[in-house]
Symmetry: C2
């Protein structure tokens, strides 16, 4: 079994209005040094197989078809063997 940890980020060229909005909130709290906030996703799950190649294949399919938006987002992941 593998534990997968996935990071999904908007491509650098794509604006992040949610990040901009939260950052305005930071200014209201007096946090003046926070800049360029970008909000992505962090997803954890397990892959119930002992073959790393097939685990990678499932993770790529899961990310590419469901978790990430291939038009706007990039993803990266790590797989770690667990008992």
């Amino acid at each position: 079994m593998f534990k997968a940890k996935v990071l999904i980020k908007r491509r650098p060229s794509i604006l992040d209005p949610q990040g901009k909005a939260v950052e305005k909130g930071a200014l209201h709290l007096g946090l003046n040094n926070i800049k360029d906030t970008r909000i992505g996703k962090y997803i954890e799950f397990t892959v119930d197989t002992d073959d790393k190649k097939s685990a990678e294949k499932e993770v790529n399919e899961y990310c590419g078809k469901l978790l990430a938006n291939p038009i706007m987002e990039d993803y990266e992941f790590t797989l770690e063997k667990v008992a």
Copy 2:
């Protein structure tokens, strides 16, 4: 200046209905080995100060008051010095 990278996760005791829903989608794609999907946030921003202590203080305030929900979520972050 520091680059901050924040991971926000639901506490393990808190259910994640969004993760459950996406996982049902995985089954429909034929990905039968994906289990225990939990969806959190990944947030990047810069902190425009050269003092690490005060950068950490701002990040903790930003996370604790705006980015994470302290009732349901935990956060962790790294700070990396950039030019």
